[in-house]
């Protein structure tokens, strides 16, 4: 089926010849070796640089996470692997690395960098050198965070850096916070760059509603990066100022208000959740259309819902603070507003399902990742309802339930689709194909391991197991052990997946320009893409998901014969 679609739908934009253009992987410039990469302003090479660095930190975060689970080997305060202080450092580092070094830059910095210009028919982003600078800022920020580990003891505040503890603890919070501050700049620059690129550099004929939905998602994400990140920047700066000059702004002894800190922190950090989840939602729209061989149902609604999610994401931060001492008025307002997020999210999910309906579904690895995503994300979303309503949140907040919910959304949602997106665009990025069977096996391990790891957390939290404790009561032993074993299964899945992908880069069979029958612009150029992306800038005449063999009036739609 996919071959047919390739023949018919592979070049709807009438531009697929690539002649003898060099692929971006070949060196054509003056520089040789690694310099040709780390000084390159080619958005594709920068995307790969991000990919390598981000997944390196992901690996570190995974190791820390597994160690945290290992700590739960034995209940009670004795016979432990780590002491309390070490455990505090573990969850702080795991959080800081996973949030600020992995998921927040995540898809936009890697696949967004690689595919945004191609999907809109441009040769690069608007500010290529700024793009490279943002990678250097990312590396600098990461290095500063690493330095903080070797200065005055590991930071032990948790990734939220809540005051007043963060201004009093003797560990090296100042350096770590400064690292995150620098990372914020990296994020802002990427956002600015993408916004300008999307506004100014779309190919002729690509009106707003002819943009692929991945681009729409990146657009909404970029706005959050530009508008929300500065608030985090100033908040973190104030922690540093407080620690160095003790001005008193967040010090309760001098009249400072810790609840105000939490407001400021979540003004950024709740929208940041949408920085993490919107790009994957964009990828889902791409995958669902390609493998159902149908145009995205309700395209405009899906596009607008990205903006709506970005907007509503600003209105709900107070639901992180229901027990922090905010007033009942605020609890009521934030709880009510929180439920609004369900509307645009629901619009997306229903339209994805409607896209699959009567489509000709091709169960390739990326689509299977998408199925896993939908299940895990649904559990994440439903558990969110318990935390969004004040009455149940008071019972569940600060327990493993929150940890479970968060990981179902971010790991089960965003990261599973990140993996799916890697499998989707892999043949385009490297011109080779991974072993599909191994990909499916790795997904099996990931899915089972994930649920073993995090579903017990939901149950443990419901039973009252508090988060961030290095110890637990004997009654929780069974579930803690299931969770611990789950973390090992998950690691097996990750190992198989990365082994398969890395092996595919070198030894995989050659992939055609359009192995899945995708319809967006990246599938019209060679795999891997030439340095200049397009020999000549394409002119867009079709909607992005035009499947010529599947276009018929909705009411007469019948499954396309295999």
């Amino acid at each position: 089926m996919s071959d047919v679609a390739f023949a018919a739908g592979g070049a709807p934009h009438g531009h697929s010849s690539n002649g003898g253009a060099h692929s971006y992987l070949e060196n054509t410039g003056k520089r040789k070796g690694i310099l040709s990469w780390i000084l390159s302003t080619d958005h594709k090479r920068i995307g790969i640089l991000y990919l390598i660095s981000i997944f390196s930190f992901f690996a570190v975060g995974v190791v820390l996470g597994v160690l945290m689970r290992l700590e739960m080997l034995v209940p009670g305060p004795t016979g432990k692997i780590f002491n309390a202080q070490e455990y505090n450092a573990l969850f702080t580092l795991h959080g800081v690395i996973m949030v600020f070094l992995f998921v927040v830059p995540g898809i936009p910095a890697t696949l967004g960098n690689f595919f945004l210009p191609i999907q809109i028919g441009a040769k690069d982003v608007a500010f290529p050198r700024l793009n490279l600078l943002s990678w250097y800022l990312y590396i600098t920020g990461a290095a500063i965070i690493l330095v903080s580990l070797f200065m005055h003891g590991l930071p032990d505040t948790g990734w939220t850096f809540y005051v007043p503890y963060s201004i009093r603890t003797g560990t090296d919070v100042t350096t770590a916070v400064f690292g995150v501050f620098v990372l914020g700049f990296s994020s802002i620059l990427t956002g600015m760059n993408f916004l300008t690129t999307i506004h100014r550099m779309r190919a002729p004929g690509m009106s707003w509603f002819k943009m692929p939905l991945f681009v729409w998602a990146l657009y909404a994400t970029a706005w959050i990066q530009v508008i929300a990140t500065p608030v985090l920047a100033i908040t973190l700066l104030l922690i540093i100022i407080e620690r160095v000059f003790s001005v008193g702004i967040f010090d309760p002894a001098k009249g400072g208000d810790p609840v105000l800190y939490q407001h400021m922190f979540w003004v950024y950090s709740h929208p940041a959740v949408y920085i993490m989840i919107l790009p994957p939602m964009g990828v889902v729209s791409e995958i669902v259309s390609t493998f159902s061989h149908r145009t995205v149902f309700g395209y405009k609604a899906v596009a607008i819902s990205s903006l709506a999610i970005a907007f509503i994401g600003y209105l709900v931060w107070g639901h992180h603070m229901f027990v922090a001492g905010e007033t009942e008025t605020a609890q009521f307002a934030f709880s009510l507003l929180t439920f609004l997020v369900a509307i645009p999210s629901g619009i997306k999910v229903f339209n994805w399902v409607a896209t699959m309906y009567k489509g000709s579904i091709d169960l390739q690895p990326p689509f299977l990742f998408l199925m896993a995503f939908i299940m895990l994300f649904a559990i994440g979303g439903l558990t969110g309802l318990f935390l969004g309503s004040v009455a149940t949140d008071v019972h569940l907040t600060g327990t493993y339930f929150v940890v479970g919910h968060f990981h179902y959304i971010i790991f089960g949602g965003a990261v599973f689709i990140f993996f799916g997106a890697l499998h989707y665009w892999f043949p385009k990025m490297f011109g080779r194909m991974y072993n599909k069977k191994a990909a499916n096996i790795s997904l099996g391990f990931l899915f089972v391991g994930f649920n073993m790891l995090y579903f017990p957390m939901l149950l443990l939290g419901y039973e009252g197991m508090p988060r961030r404790y290095f110890s637990y009561l004997p009654q929780y032993e069974t579930l803690q052990h299931v969770s611990m074993v789950g973390s090992w299964v998950l690691v097996i899945g990750l190992t198989i997946m990365f082994w398969n992908l890395i092996r595919g880069i070198r030894k995989g069979e050659k992939a055609p320009a359009n192995p899945w029958g995708g319809t967006t612009l990246e599938w019209t150029i060679a795999s891997p893409p030439p340095t200049e992306n397009f020999e000549e800038i394409p002119v867009i005449t079709h909607e992005p998901y035009y499947h010529p063999d599947a276009e018929m009036p909705e009411e007469h739609a019948v499954p396309v014969a295999k």
Binding site: H199, S207, G318, T329, A330, A333
Partner: protein
């Protein structure tokens, strides 16, 4: 939905020019407003003191943004951008005060 693809030539020579005189007039207005706000601050207007000071500050800021920063003469999309930022600030203030205002 496309923004105007103006200035595509890469030459800026054809941008609209604003006279020196206009700029100087705006500057005079800004100085005058500064004097007014400083003098008014000395008078006791009770609760209105802050409001008056902020209205004057907003007026000054909009003069700078519109004339000195050329927003008045730019494409509509630039105004939309400013509107997005302004609205976000409004939302952040409103929702924070939904908590703060009702404390104690």
């Amino acid at each position: 939905m496309h923004e105007q693809q103006s200035h595509q030539s890469g030459e800026q020579a054809h941008e609209e020019m604003i006279s020196y005189g206009t700029y100087i007039l705006v500057w005079l207005a800004l100085i005058a407003l500064t004097c007014i706000t400083a003098v008014v601050a000395g008078i006791n207007l009770a609760a209105f003191t802050l409001a008056v000071a902020l209205v004057i500050a907003l007026t000054k800021a909009s003069l700078v943004v519109n004339i000195f920063m050329h927003i008045k003469f730019e494409d509509k999309i630039f105004k939309v951008f400013l509107g997005i930022a302004g609205f976000t600030i409004f939302v952040i203030f409103t929702l924070t005060f939904a908590d703060v205002f009702f404390r104690r």
